[in-house]
Symmetry: C2
Subunit: 463 residues, 2 copies
Amino acid sequence: MFPTATYITRRQKLKSEVKNGILLFPGNGESSMNYKDNWYPFRQDSSFLYYTGVNNIPNIYFLIDIENDKEILFGDDPTPEEMVWTGAVTPLSILAEKSGIAEVKSMKELPAYIKQQQQKGNPIHFLPPYRSETTNELSNLLNIPVGVIEKNKSDAFIKAVVKQRVIKTSEEIKELNKAVNITAAMHTHAIKNTRPGKTEKEIAGELQAIAIGGGGNISFPIILTKNGQYLHNHATQAVIEEGDIVLCDCGAETAMNYAGDMTRTFPAGKRFSSLQKDVYNIVLNAHNSAIAALKPGILFRDIHLLACTKLTEGLKAMGLMKGDVQEAVAVGAHTLFFQCGLGHMMGMDVHDMENLGESYVGYTDDLKKSTAFGLKSLRLGKALEAGNVLTVEPGIYFNPFLIDSWKTQKKYTDFVNYDEVEKFKDFGGIRVEEDLLITASGSELLGEPLVKTPEDIEELKNV
Amino acid sequence: MFPTATYITRRQKLKSEVKNGILLFPGNGESSMNYKDNWYPFRQDSSFLYYTGVNNIPNIYFLIDIENDKEILFGDDPTPEEMVWTGAVTPLSILAEKSGIAEVKSMKELPAYIKQQQQKGNPIHFLPPYRSETTNELSNLLNIPVGVIEKNKSDAFIKAVVKQRVIKTSEEIKELNKAVNITAAMHTHAIKNTRPGKTEKEIAGELQAIAIGGGGNISFPIILTKNGQYLHNHATQAVIEEGDIVLCDCGAETAMNYAGDMTRTFPAGKRFSSLQKDVYNIVLNAHNSAIAALKPGILFRDIHLLACTKLTEGLKAMGLMKGDVQEAVAVGAHTLFFQCGLGHMMGMDVHDMENLGESYVGYTDDLKKSTAFGLKSLRLGKALEAGNVLTVEPGIYFNPFLIDSWKTQKKYTDFVNYDEVEKFKDFGGIRVEEDLLITASGSELLGEPLVKTPEDIEELKNV
């Protein structure tokens, strides 16, 4: 936990933004895998953690009652008989004290408390839930049908939380640096230990061990694949072979649930082929150009388009694209090779606050997300502010299904040399990703630098 | 997948048992962690897998229409644009063919199909769901309120599935042996690589890497702890110290989702203390005695009570218990040290079919589960049959909360020497667990033998 003052200050700011009603934070419960009591690793909700710091206790609720100036943690300590199974659990009263929360009540007192406030006409603010359990719990507690819970989320509450969480404090940046350093250690291991004959899952398992050993766990399912052309292709039992390039996109989250998220692409064997190096350098140039342009005030959508331009220039130089580069990017021809967005906010969630809605986190009332292929997958478009933390992750992906489909449809034939592209249908995909903090004057890399050029990667592989 | 004939035969047997109506198998969806699209590893439902063999495809349903003699897989293949994210996915038509399922329909055709059968008065049988998503989906599909879904589960369907899955075929036993061997490799690693100065999570991470490298994942959250006195104490960031005994209870599941589940307890340093060895040997004796008594026809409840007797004899010899051993076990005095059950069925679920209900899987209409402390945690009580696969896992747990609580209450003072027990409040816990197949004449150990005596464990640690 951070010092008590951190949580008190965060809640004061939040109250002064929302101004009225009850702010309800449903804690997560356990998540069932193949039967009720076989659980996935417990993950507390990030906003709950942000405002309480109380971690690793399932099935508790927190509430800020602005009307009556109260803060209450609802939950129940285990009995000695329950401690046969759970072991020693820190009492909620001690956790509440560390968080500066004055009151602890039993969970069974929550429904009456809520009902009383509803009867007084006080609004009960809640954030949009992302687990069915929470939706069902809110439905029972607030007496709102399951189907309209989402519609009843509180805009004022969401906006206040986003405004606060989107600017990282120095305490948080320290924790994010820790997460990125564990993430970098995972990548160093992957680059050194990937070799022909191993399966993707063998290496992915080794990386997860590093994340768990770091005190937390992985921040999202590990992408480690010789088929990097598919954006969210998780590790499989496929055997890595000489000549493959392996794309590894992974991250750790710390014990305090701050995330890292990086990508490197490297050869299965000792060296990249010359063609692999050429494509890699196009991606790396787009990556470096985008980072150089980061600063407060600039639209991240424009950084994205800058990266798209750099990718298109490179692909044109290789003969895969043709025509005017700006026009090609404007119509979206480059999305045959780069189908997604350049990056996203990162924090306690690897896609920070994605559950609160991209329209709040990545866009504004004036700047709405595009629905065009490519841009519709750009999670962040709005103007950057000092204190934002985000990823920069351009890539080139030769997706044979998309190539076949668009070639048949004669899409973008003014800008794409399909005859040349055909030769790359078994090339794979390349992505380079790092995590950056927006500073007053530009940006700062999070974590210790990790090998990034083809030459440095080869050197690390051949130590 | 097993050969097509396996699935066809399984379904034929099932149909001949249930005889009428529609058998509905809701496949699992993805499970959200800290926002909607950040997923835990996908795990298909085990009964769905058992009857279809179709794995790793979320959000599909399977249905056996006994009335109209049809078998239909409901689901949708990704579009080329969706394959940008998912990559190459085997078409459902090919998976259905491998499983011997004649028809594939789009998910959007399912509601009308169900409605039509309901209108004809055909019963729609379903198993009790264990995820809220599935409960909500069934509620919508069948037009039954969420709150009464559980009550509307099909007894006939449950009983037929249990009857079939509880007897393992030779194909399944081969897969279970594979799971247990990966599990044994995890334990060998843990015994060899645990040493003072490492955290519990570091070692747990290394074990999970072995499970993932084996092609599947862990079959349940890893218990690796110097506080083995707490039954489900998962690995934490606690540092292991010289003199600690470490209890490791873990298992792998294979790519086909068959589970292993073993426990070993070993010293953090090079040797057990003499006292640790004494307690270990009591547990080991109970473990071996229980295994020697396994055979078809015997109640597993009686095997459990036999193990309790052996534990009590040993604790009495050490001066921790006193009085008549049989009386002590009959009143439950031993549950101060052994608070749980001796074992459970194992198969595609590590607690096999736990979601279907212990009253069906572990007990019968005539043999109900006891509500007494200790016996109420015995998941399996009924008579064993050849083909059953189960765990045998006695233990001795010195739980300081329970000792304090019962001492204050003066519980079982005729049988417990609390003055002696006081000295063990920081001892920890010891468990020994293996996986067994019930044969025609007795039982057979699954997997290659793993070190089990204190001497063999010390030898492995000191290679």
